[in-house]
Every structure is written in structure tokens, then in C-alpha cells.
């Protein structure tokens, strides 16, 4: 197991180092650390604006959110390994040639990915907090406790989603039952005054019993997930009647109906249809809603909804990443399509799927009695989504999932979307109707996409 882990770990490092250079990739945690450090320095100012304890809640929920976004192993499982490693991986396919079970390899894969995320994101954040703690008035003991509980919040989110997605993969009714049981348990905990979010409870009041219970729960969820997970395809031949022709006909008015129909079938049949929407968009957005609602007292009227719309827009732009992640680009090399056509077709599918974040914002507006400003909120979300995806296309072309780990690209992305976000939030806070200003971004977004397409069409990549 250690040898396999080390081999996978080295492989992961070399894949990234080859893409960004060893120094560039090694600098990524430094960038995260610097950002966390700067954020921590601002803690006294933020704390003054927030009711006591809310900042700790927000930070813990953010770590839970990162865990949730990482933990979708069960959602695509082997397919994710195929997409990530493809033909270049040897270690992930060692079961074919060595006496190693697929389950053991997958368990190691999960462990390796977990450690990688810890090293790339979690530990650098904790280091940044620790470095800035003297300036933020945080005692060393508090920093240590915070480090532990944030780590547990991340692991809780990751293992919970791993469990849910694995159960989803096994049986939809079993998933419904599990979700109901979890919801009921949460309700009972709330009524009984038990800690519904143990990592936060542990931060507020440390207890060895609670720590042991939480660690046991995480280990149990992980073990059940690995036991339930089916790393090997069943060997059965899944058959489908022709859905492509009808779908392509229905999408006939779009610029690339064949490519768009394939995208939608890819997404649906890969298990990513409902599940991807649920786990990568609805759940994180629900958490974000909860986080933002904590700021209700310091935000202007409708501020929660408008801020939520901004986040829905940025998160909605990651749909482009799904569309590229589920599609191996190699086979296009046999066909008369270039990078430009592929990017345009992915964007066509992307805009079709933007109905999802738009509906989520609409529902949030109606559910919170802010129906009057629902339309500007949706416009805000869609405008920002268009701008974010344009920046993504310009910076990363057809590989947004990989290039996010290039510190230079990430910094450029954050810089590229940061200013419009600040400007739009400021406008919308002055008057919710100024949320319509988000639609203005569509024009520069189109220009940036054109520039991005020109850039990637002439790049000396492996495919053009």
C-alpha cells in the first residue's frame, strides 16, 4: 500500500509538474498561503462587523464546502480515473498487470487525492492563518484548535459526499432513504440541542469525546463508501436506443447541434446529469446561501439574494468545466473540427445549462419573498457567469480543470473576475435593479471568448 501510494503521489506530482513546471506547481500552495495570510490579517475588522462567532461558523462552513466539492469520488469513480489519467497512467491501472484489487487501488487513489488536496489547499490555508495570527490577535492554542477543527470540517464534507455519491451510484432509492435518515438525524439533533456541525462545536468547546466520535464517524463513512463503491464496471453491456438523432434534431437551431447533443448525452449518461447538478451546484449553493444569510444583518436590503446571485453566477460558470471534464478530446482528432469549434460548441451547451443556476436564483428569490428583484438577480448571475466562463476560456481553453492549479493562471482568473464582481455588487447594493448591469458583461465576454479562441487555435498544443 505505501509503495502504491508513493507511486501514485509521484505520478500526480509529475503530471502537474510537466504541465506547469515543478517550481510553478510548487508555488501554488504558497499562493493559497499568502491569500489566507492576508485574509487573516483582516479578521479583527471583519469580526467587528459580524456578531461574535459568525466568522468561525463561516470559515468552518467554507472548509466543509471545499470538502463537499472534493468528495464526489463515488459520482464518476472509474470514469473520473479514466478521464484524469487516460492513456498516460500506469499506476491507476496496475490491477490489470499486478496482484492488486481494483478496490485497493481506488482506496489508495482516494487517499492520495485527499492528501493532495490537504497539501494544496488546506494546509497552506492553515499555515497562512498561523503566520498572520500575531497580527490578528489569535492565540497559539486557538490557532492549533482551529487547524484541527477546520481539517475535520474538510474531511466531514469530503466523506459525507463520498458516502452519498457512492450510495447514489448503487441505488437511487437507497440514496433517498439515506438522505431522509440524515435529514431526520439533523432535525433530532437540532431539537435535542446536540451539535449539528461537530467540527464547529469542537472549535467552540473542545471535548475529547466529541473528537473521538467525529473521527469514528468520518472513518466509518469512508469505510462504508469504499466497501459500497464499485470500482470495476459490472462488465455488462449497457444498451440505449438512439437518443442522439432526436436530440440533435431538436437542437437544430443551435450552431453545433451534433456536438451539443453529444455533450448533453455525455453528461446524462455519465451519471453526471441529475447527480452532477445536485452535488456540484445545488448542495454547494445551499451551503453558500446559509453562509451568506449569516451576513444578513450587515448587508443592505436584498443583499443576501444579490450576493447569492453573484456566487451562483461564478459557480455556474464551472458548468464549462464539467462539460470538458466528461469529454475526452482525443477522438476529435479524427474529425474535421478545430479547437475553436469545440470551444464554441462547449459554450453552446454551457449556455443551455445556465438554466440551472438561473432557476436556483429564481427559486431563492421567490422562496425568500424577494420576487420583485428576482429578474435583476438572475441577470446578475447570468452576466457574471458569462464573464467568468469567458475568462476561463481565455486562460485555460479546453482544460479548465487542470489549469486551475497553475498559480499564474489562477491569479489571472481571480484578478479577471474580481473587479467586475466588486463593481456589480456595489451597483446592486445601491439599487437591486442595477443588477441588470450584469448583462452588460455579455459584450466584453463575447470579445474575450473570441480572443481566447484565437489564442488556443494558434497554441502549439497536442491538438488543434
Amino acid at each position: 500500500m505505501p509503495d502504491l501510494f508513493i507511486a501514485m503521489f509521484k505520478e500526480e506530482w509529475r503530471v502537474h509538474a510537466e504541465l506547469f513546471g515543478s517550481v510553478g506547481f510548487a508555488l501554488f500552495p504558497a499562493l493559497v498561503c499568502a491569500m489566507a495570510c492576508m485574509g487573516t490579517v483582516l479578521v479583527p475588522i471583519v469580526n467587528a462587523a459580524l456578531p461574535a462567532g459568525d466568522l468561525a461558523t463561516i470559515v468552518h462552513l467554507l472548509f466543509l464546502l471545499v470538502g463537499v466539492m472534493v468528495g464526489g469520488f463515488g459520482l464518476v469513480g472509474n470514469e473520473a480515473m479514466n478521464r484524469r489519467f487516460g492513456q498516460v497512467s500506469f499506476v491507476a491501472y496496475a490491477a490489470r498487470t499486478l496482484p492488486l484489487s481494483e478496490r485497493r487501488i481506488f482506496a489508495t487513489f482516494v487517499a492520495k487525492d485527499t492528501v493532495y488536496y490537504l497539501m494544496l489547499w488546506i494546509l497552506p490555508v492553515l499555515a497562512g492563518v498561523a503566520l498572520a495570527s500575531p497580527f490578528a490577535g489569535l492565540a497559539p492554542a486557538t490557532v492549533l484548535r482551529l487547524g484541527l477543527t477546520l481539517l475535520l470540517a474538510f474531511l466531514s464534507g469530503m466523506t459525507a459526499l463520498f458516502l452519498l455519491t457512492t450510495v447514489w451510484g448503487r441505488s437511487k432509492p437507497a440514496f433517498a432513504v439515506t438522505a431522509l435518515v440524515l435529514a431526520a438525524a439533523s432535525a433530532v439533533a437540532i431539537v435535542a440541542g446536540l451539535p449539528i456541525f461537530p467540527p464547529l462545536a469542537l472549535y467552540r468547546s473542545f471535548s475529547w469525546t466529541l473528537l473521538a466520535g467525529l473521527l469514528a464517524a468520518i472513518a466509518t463513512a469512508l469505510a462504508i463508501s469504499l466497501l459500497l463503491f464499485e470500482p470495476v464496471s459490472s462488465g455488462s453491456e449497457r444498451r440505449h436506443p438512439d437518443r442522439f438523432s432526436g436530440l440533435a434534431r431538436r437542437l437544430g437551431r443551435l450552431p453545433y447541434p451534433g456536438l451539443a447533443a453529444k455533450d448533453l448525452l455525455d453528461l446524462w449518461r455519465s451519471g453526471g446529469g441529475v447527480a452532477q447538478v445536485l452535488f456540484a451546484l445545488v448542495l454547494p449553493l445551499a451551503l453558500c446561501w446559509f453562509l451568506i444569510s449569516l451576513l444578513d444583518r450587515v448587508l443592505p436590503t436584498n443583499g443576501v439574494l444579490l450576493l447569492f446571485a453573484v456566487i451562483a453566477g461564478v459557480l455556474g460558470s464551472t458548468v464549462y468545466t464539467w462539460l470538458t471534464a466528461f469529454d475526452a478530446l482525443g477522438p476529435y482528432g479524427c474529425l474535421p473540427v478545430g479547437v475553436g469549434t469545440l470551444i464554441r460548441s462547449k459554450l453552446t451547451s454551457f449556455f443551455l445549462l445556465q438554466a440551472v443556476p438561473a432557476v436556483i436564483v429564481l427559486v431563492a428569490a421567490l422562496a425568500t419573498g424577494a420576487g420583485l428583484v428576482a429578474l435583476p438577480a438572475v441577470a446578475l448571475a447570468l452576466g457574471l457567469s458569462a464573464w467568468s466562463v469567458a475568462v476561463t476560456v481565455y486562460l485555460a481553453g479546453l482544460s479548465p480543470n487542470i489549469l486551475v492549479y497553475d498559480p499564474k493562471v489562477l491569479a489571472a482568473f481571480l484578478g479577471g473576475i474580481g473587479l467586475p464582481i466588486i463593481a456589480l455588487v456595489a451597483f446592486a447594493f445601491v439599487s437591486p435593479w442595477l443588477g441588470f448591469a450584469g448583462l452588460v458583461l455579455v459584450v466584453p465576454a463575447a470579445l474575450v471568448v473570441s480572443a481566447g479562441i484565437r489564442r488556443w487555435e494558434t497554441a502549439d498544443g497536442t491538438f488543434f
Binding site: H240, F244, L259, D266, P331, G333, V337
Partner: protein
């Protein structure tokens, strides 16, 4: 598209006593469909293909031979506009591969060595998808022909990810010839096929060429090259070592494996 209509594979044996060699077209009288001059591809310090100049006449069944890592696949990828050459020029069917790579791919059929069809389309859907990308009418008739010819019609509704490697290769074969291209570039055409399908495919390729089309294939199975090719080039460490025709070989009473081993086998790396 300017290619021939689909042949019936059996037709190549309809002329009794005719061997595969004797039906080959004399490449000397035909215009070149592939012309490469000084084609070079470097990856950092590694030179994958080094100053390759080659001409493939129309109507040829041309074999690019070489050991593993000799640059065969890189050459095919450059000729089909999938990767940009570091230096040199190439035209395929008169189209510049750098200036108009999509134009090249719209005219030729390509079977890559490693790529497999998209996971989440069925075999039939994939051929319809290829038809829609290539703007073809009547894809279904062509697809049906291929399902029948390569005997995998029972798999037409199976997701590509659940197909065996051999069946995926059959599907990739079908997609490459769906638009009846005047030129097909095939990387290791027989590698995943059983002996029966290998035989069928060899028959098909010979007949396809006899109907006025051109096939450019890479292989390291020398016996296959000697059996069906009308011309060949031997590549080693990215360099062109030798080019010739089986007719020339027969005149000197030599065989391709003998020449190949004499040229490549003396390299200590292959000793």
C-alpha cells in the same frame, strides 16, 4: 466527397488467380496525395521526427514502417493536422496541413492508434455523430454496411465504453471510411483484431485502393506490409532510412524483414 463507393470486400477475390501484389497500381504514374518536405517534430530536446521528406502517390497502399518510438504515429498526427510540425511543410490532397488542418481532416479518413470512441454514445450513435460532424446524408446506410461487414451489428446499441477493444477498433474503422475518403491514414490497422477480421480488413484495404483511393498506414508488422503495400518507407529514430516498393524487393529476391533488420537491427538499442 471524391472517394470511391463502398466496395464489397469479397470482390477482390472474384478475379481468380489474382494475387494481392498483381492488382497493385503502379505508383509511378500517379500524382502525389501526400507530399512532405523536411517535416520535423521536436518535443524539447527530443526529436520525434527529423527532416522527413516523403511523397505518396495517389492509388498507393503505402506503409510507414519502423520500430516502436520511431516516429510513425507522430508523422501521421502531423499529416492529419493534429499536431503542428516544428519545421518543414506538408500537403495532403493538396491542402497545407498547417494552414488548414480542419480542411485536411474533412477530406481524409483517420484511424489513430490509441484513441477510442466517446464513452457515452452507443456505437450507432457515434457513427451518426460522425456523420453529423462531416455533414453526411444517409449515414445509416453506410453504418449498416460496416456493422454487417465487420460483424458487430449486435453491438450497435451498446455504449462505446462497454465495447471490447476489438469492437472499438471496428467502430473507429467504420468512422474513418463513413465519408468514403479518397485518402485514409491508419495507425496500426490490425493491432486489436482477431485473425479473421485482420484478413477481412486487409482485403478491404487492397480493394479500396484498387478502386482509385489511397491508404497510408503505419505498422510494425512487416509481413502485413510486404503482403499488401505497394510502397513503403522505413523510419527509425525519426529519420527516414529507406523507401521502396515490394516490386523492387522481388527483383532483388529479398524480403522486407531482412532489409528492416539490416537497417534497424544493427542499432544496439534493438540488439
Amino acid at each position: 466527397m471524391e472517394g470511391a463507393s463502398h466496395p464489397r470486400a469479397a470482390s477482390i477475390f472474384e478475379q481468380e488467380g489474382t494475387s494481392l501484389f498483381t492488382i497493385a497500381i503502379d505508383p509511378c504514374v500517379m500524382a502525389a496525395v501526400i507530399e512532405a518536405r523536411g517535416l520535423t517534430k521536436r518535443y524539447g530536446e527530443t526529436v520525434a521526427v527529423n527532416d522527413l521528406s516523403i511523397e505518396v502517390p495517389a492509388g498507393a497502399l503505402y506503409g510507414l514502417l519502423g520500430p516502436n518510438g520511431s516516429g510513425k504515429s507522430t508523422t501521421i498526427r502531423m499529416l492529419t493536422g493534429q499536431i503542428r510540425p516544428t519545421a518543414g511543410t506538408a500537403t495532403v490532397l493538396g491542402v497545407d496541413v498547417v494552414a488548414d488542418p480542419v480542411g485536411v481532416r474533412s477530406r481524409v479518413g483517420i484511424i489513430p492508434e490509441q484513441e477510442t470512441p466517446p464513452s457515452f454514445l452507443t456505437a450507432a450513435e457515434y457513427l451518426r455523430f460522425v456523420g453529423s460532424i462531416r455533414g453526411l446524408d444517409g449515414t445509416d446506410d453506410n453504418a449498416d454496411w460496416w456493422f454487417e461487414f465487420l460483424d458487430f451489428g449486435d453491438k450497435r446499441d451498446v455504449l462505446c465504453k462497454d465495447l471490447s477493444r476489438g469492437t472499438r477498433q471496428k467502430l473507429m474503422f467504420a468512422q474513418a471510411f463513413l465519408h468514403r475518403p479518397a485518402l485514409a491514414l491508419i495507425d496500426e490497422p490490425l493491432v486489436n483484431f482477431d485473425p479473421i477480421v485482420q484478413h477481412q480488413v486487409k482485403e478491404f484495404l487492397v480493394d479500396y485502393v484498387r478502386r482509385g483511393n489511397t491508404v497510408f498506414l503505419s505498422t510494425h508488422i512487416l509481413e502485413v506490409a510486404e503482403e499488401i503495400c505497394t510502397g513503403y518507407a522505413i523510419l527509425h529514430r525519426g529519420r527516414l532510412l529507406h523507401a521502396g516498393t515490394p516490386l523492387e524487393l522481388r527483383e532483388t529476391d529479398r524480403h522486407l524483414p531482412e532489409i528492416f533488420l539490416a537497417l534497424v537491427g544493427r542499432d544496439p538499442a534493438h540488439a
